[in-house]
Amino acid sequence: YRSHLMSSLLCLEGMMLSLFVMASLTILNSHFTLASMMPIILLVFAACEAALGLSLLVKVSNTYGTDYVQNLNLLQC
């Protein structure tokens, strides 16, 4: 069973999506109008983070051919 590095990035994106939905619902429900910009800002920084994670994945994939987590074993105890 091979674990991809990509799966961890997808799970991070899932966490950002759940934060977005939860924040939007709370802000809409409590009529906290001025805080409606907060989920958008969250999405901006989540996009930055996703792009950075993907660029690191591209570098790993260029070095090892695949993005398996087992390839990241330079630091061994």
């Binding site: 091979r2 990509m6 799966s7 939007s24 910009m37 996009a47």
Partner: protein, 175 residues
């Protein structure tokens, strides 16, 4: 059925999450995330947040998921794993599915489920209309306030996006 539409959409939301967190091959994980994104947009729309819900579709699915899809297509393997091909993935998916079914059963039976915090039945998330909302959508006004009250926020996020692009180009330059 329409009164319970948010409940049904939230069940599909959680099932989509279980679908990609059981770690099949990333292409199928991306599929679960797309389903969750679409349904999450529907949930936000049902609370009157039309701009924020469509932002999910446009920016999240249309921007970020497309980039994820291309990168996965670039770094994928020859025999991708679907949910039924590997016992680990199938076991994790079935476990998540069972936990969701148990929670739904308890919510439907008791009208109140307390695990970490209280899920108060199906009618909890009803919008309380306090006072006169006028002729404009207050959510859209709140987002429009980004450019008047939140000018510094715009400057910071714009600058951090530019710095992010520079960082990514430095990373992928290599050598």
């Amino acid at each position: 059925m329409m009164t319970y539409i948010v409940f049904i959409l939230s069940i599909i939301f959680v099932l989509g999450f279980v679908g990609f967190s059981s770690k099949p091959s990333p292409i199928y994980g991306g599929l679960g995330l797309i389903v969750s994104g679409g349904v999450g947009c529907g949930i936000v729309l049902n609370f009157g947040g039309s701009f924020l819900g469509l932002m999910v579709f446009l920016i999240y699915l249309g921007g970020m998921m497309v980039v994820f899809g291309y990168t996965t297509a670039m770094a994928t393997e020859q025999y991708p794993e679907i949910w039924v091909s590997n016992k680990t993935v199938l076991g994790a998916f079935v476990t998540g599915l069972l936990m969701e079914i148990v929670m739904v059963y308890y919510v439907l039976k008791d009208e109140e489920v307390e695990i970490v915090f209280q899920f108060n039945g199906l009618g909890d998330w009803v919008i309380y209309d306090t006072g006169d909302s006028g002729f404009f959508s207050e959510e859209a006004m709140g987002i429009a306030a980004l450019y008047s009250y939140g000018t510094w926020l715009v400057i910071v996020t714009g600058w951090s996006l530019l710095i992010g692009v520079v960082v990514i180009m430095e990373i992928t330059r290599g050598n």
